[in-house]
């Protein structure tokens, strides 16, 4: 029997980028393999769900759980791994906040099935066939997991000990966390976010900030921004001010706005609400002007922002106070 602590990594509804980011710690992956017994990881190992079920409760030292909860199977695995793990980590933006696939909560399950299988440009489907959990075929019955009405975060189905945010978490940050665990460092209190800063992307950004206010928004395709100045002060909806740091401000370095993938900063629950609050102080709505003029300005501002939900909650709708469209 090995004395090494047991490590598991599981993917629920996800894209695989979290695994690639882990693999992109490159040669340090060998240190991970040396420090842990990698006992369950469907992408790497031949350990099955029933093997996990057979493990004593709390026998896994750490489980890195990526992906959101969208199917029966995702939910079942989340609860099983919670039971078996001493530390359950919501790894990446899907597990932490719901991520981009969480925008799914703006429309219903039926809308999804319609857009993909029946009212779809390339699909020829006169019978209106949509996937079913159970299908009788000539040879027997076939089963696929049920597709839920909504996307949920890991914490919405079970207790989570730590969060490693990011879409995906940056490889060097993953290594920092893993290294700390290997060295037995004291971890912050449960519920904390690891592999990130306590501050915002803005604080990591090299662009210069003035005290400028803006009178309208510029969509990214509409202009070529100045390469040195703050994007938000140029009217580009950069989410850096309402986003947790840790990535090193990568997107603004290539002249693109922060999209918010590290989620809300320390102490903030709702990233979108924080962004709206932050905009309040930078928008020039024409204080001192007539009511009519102010209304016109506000209307123009809203006009320049046709998808507020998709802009402010791109990476965290399911985990936000908003949650999605009421169903």
């Amino acid at each position: 029997m090995s004395e090494k602590p047991k490590l598991a990594m599981y993917w629920a509804s996800s894209c695989g980028g979290c695994e690639i980011s882990l693999v992109n710690i490159h040669e340090k992956i060998l240190d991970v393999a040396a420090a842990f017994d990698f006992v369950f990881c469907p992408c790497l190992l031949d350990t099955k769900k029933k093997d996990v079920e057979a493990m004593p409760d709390k026998s896994l030292a750490v489980t890195l759980f990526n992906g959101a909860i969208r199917t029966d199977e995702n939910e079942e695995m989340a609860k099983l791994l919670r039971r078996k793990s001493r530390l359950l980590v919501a790894f990446g933006s899907c597990a932490s906040g719901g991520c981009i696939p969480g925008l799914s909560n703006l429309s219903s399950r039926a809308d999804h099935l319609r857009a993909i299988y029946t009212d779809n440009l390339s699909t020829v489907n006169p019978e209106g066939v949509v996937p079913q959990t159970d299908t009788k075929v000539p040879e027997g019955n076939l089963h696929i997991p049920a597709f839920h009405e909504r996307v949920r975060t890991l914490a919405q189905v079970t207790d989570v000990d730590y969060y490693i945010p990011g879409c995906p978490p940056e490889s060097h940050q993953i290594w920092h966390v893993v290294e700390a665990i290997i060295k037995g460092a004291t971890l912050p209190p449960p519920g904390s976010a690891l592999g990130c800063t306590q501050s915002t992307v803005c604080d990591e950004c090299q662009r210069t900030r003035g005290e400028k206010t803006i009178s309208g928004f510029v969509r990214t395709y509409e202009s070529i921004p100045d390469g040195q100045k703050c994007l938000l002060e140029q009217g580009v909806l950069c989410m850096g001010i309402a986003t947790r740091g840790g990535c090193g401000s990568l997107c603004p370095q290539v002249n693109m706005p922060c999209a918010g993938c590290y989620g809300p900063p320390e102490g903030v629950t709702d990233q979108g609400a924080r962004m709206v609050a932050a905009l309040g102080s930078i928008l020039d709505v024409g204080i001192g002007m007539s009511e009519n003029e102010i209304n016109q300005r506000v209307d123009a501002l809203l006009e320049g922002m046709p998808d507020p939900a998709g802009t402010f909650y791109k990476f965290g709708l399911p985990g936000s106070l908003l949650g999605g469209k009421a169903s």
Partner: protein, 495 residues
């Protein structure tokens, strides 16, 4: 009727699942390859801003986000009716060639290659990257890690992030390349070229010089005569970034060549209730079920079919290898054109030829004086309201189709994704492998694990890159059930 379930085979675009049914005579009656996962991008992208699609659709796949990023960016060029400056197109292609080098390298050394390099009959515990290293030397393992590392560094340099890049914009690219960056990329491209040539030598020494493996590659077990699809340039040469979609038939005759924006005239998708993934087929031939041959609209879109549809390679060294492969396996028809190869295991060889092409193309672009031009973006002047873009993803032709209102808010989204093209062919290859392995109810135990893996792995189904990364065992469990569903026996890969 007996039933064999393999669940999950691996993570494809979700958890892949295979169900094999035997008839009363113990022969394979049918095989179902199911994708039990759906995230719904085509639905939840409605209402989003079109210009955000390159970073939204990245998240379809963390293994090939570069492909989605570019297909999306190209769709936006059309939607906003703007032609990017030449330097921007070259940077995009440079970025994409870099991605191809790392993606194909990973597949050969960590995923598909172990079947050959270590051997299909080797113990499963050795058929992985570590086994490859053991066979060809620890130095090679270090080189594979170094190759991934240096190319992800370039991807981040050009695209902003090494996973889920951000620099693609309608009308261009958000950053230009500095001379310092260019010089570093050129150096990396040289290393890639050496590594690609070395990899082909490894394949030659270990596979082609071994008569048993060579027989396996050129034999009938993994043969399917479907239509072939791929993107070609104006001279009918392979191109990953841009061109016309060409389809050739089982004999290599051109069936159609069309601009990507005409895809709806040529491709349709079939729905089955037992899987979330759809089945694309050639519209003019029609959906005839899971069969190959000229009467069936099933086509494949893989490294092998890309070479099948091309008359030649655009770079000299890749051309030499291309000629060699078609001499060894394909032969020539009466005209000058090579015959398509239908031996699906040759996809591994084709992938290495593409790796060499990607490395050569990366070097060409890194040396191009225009690559450092600061003129990398044109600001669009109007929203046309419809845009279709496509690239060759490593796993097949990738098409994005967007429609918007006058504000650029999405009203319709349709995508045909790399692996999806091959959903029917993968099912067919698994069935054929199963039929070879199971006769009169007798199951070749170790064989079924190895060869069913090989049948789908040659397609490099999405997310499979991660599959063999470390300990490298595919998560396979085979359960044999009787007609009432009782488990007769199970066998599985040992740890």
């Amino acid at each position: 009727m007996k039933r064999i379930a393999i669940d999950p085979i691996t993570r494809l675009e979700g958890h892949g699942k295979i169900e094999i049914f035997l008839n009363d005579g113990g022969e394979v009656e049918n095989v179902y390859f199911q994708v039990p996962e759906l995230r719904g991008f085509e639905a939840f992208c409605l209402g989003r801003l079109a210009e955000e699609m390159p970073i939204i659709t990245n998240r379809i796949c963390g293994v090939c986000p570069e492909a989605h990023h570019l297909a999306s960016t190209k769709a936006l060029d059309r939607l906003f009716d703007v032609d990017p400056p030449p330097a921007a197109k070259k940077i995009r292609e440079l970025f994409y060639s870099t991605f191809y080098v790392t993606d194909h390298t990973t597949h050969f050394y960590a995923l598909g290659g172990p079947d050959f390099v270590v051997g299909p009959d080797a113990p499963p515990a050795e058929r992985n990257l570590l086994g490859v290293i053991k066979k060809v030397g620890v130095e090679v393992g270090k080189q594979v890690i170094a190759c991934r590392s240096r190319n992800h560094h370039v991807i981040q340099m050009l695209g902003g992030r090494s996973i889920h890049p951000t620099a693609g914009q309608p009308g261009g690219w958000s950053k230009h390349v500095t001379e310092t960056e260019r010089a570093e990329i050129e150096q990396i491209a040289h290393q890639n070229l050496d590594f690609a040539l070395f990899s082909l030598k490894v394949f030659d020494n270990i596979v082609l010089q071994n008569s048993r493996y060579r027989e396996m590659v050129t034999g009938d077990t993994y043969m399917h005569k479907t239509y072939s699809m791929g993107t070609v340039d104006a001279q009918n040469r392979v191109n990953f970034y841009d061109g016309m979609i060409r389809v050739v038939d089982q004999e290599g005759n051109e069936v159609v060549k069309y601009p990507p924006e005409d895809y709806l005239q040529h491709i349709a998708e079939h729905v089955e209730p037992w899987t979330y993934m759809k089945f694309p087929y050639l519209k003019r031939i029609g959906w005839k079920g899971f069969v190959d041959g000229p009467e069936s609209g099933v086509y494949a879109a893989t490294p092998l079919t890309r070479l099948n549809v091309s008359d030649s390679m655009p770079t000299p060294r890749a051309q030499q290898e291309f000629e060699r492969m078609y001499e060894v396996i394909g032969g020539r028809s009466t005209g000058s054109r090579h015959k398509p190869i239908h031996h699906r295991l040759a996809t591994h060889w084709a992938r290495l030829i593409e790796l060499l092409y990607a490395a050569e193309r990366m070097l060409e672009l890194a040396k191009d004086p225009e690559i450092t031009s600061p003129d990398v973006r044109r600001v669009p002047e109007r929203i046309k309201g419809i845009g279709i873009g496509s690239v060759e993803a490593p796993r097949g032709t990738l098409t994005h189709h967007y429609e918007t209102d006058e504000r650029g808010v999405l009203t319709r989204v349709n995508m045909i994704v790399g692996t999806t093209n091959n959903h029917a062919p993968i099912s067919m290859s698994i069935k054929k492998a199963a039929q070879e392995l199971i006769t009169k109810g007798k199951v070749v135990e170790e064989g079924i694990l190895n060869r069913i893996e090989m049948a789908f792995r040659l397609y490099d189904p999405c997310l499979s890159c991660a599959t063999h990364a470390l300990p490298g065992q595919m998560p396979l469990l085979v359960t044999l059930r009787d007609a009432s569903g009782n488990i007769v026996r199970t066998f599985r890969r040992s740890d």
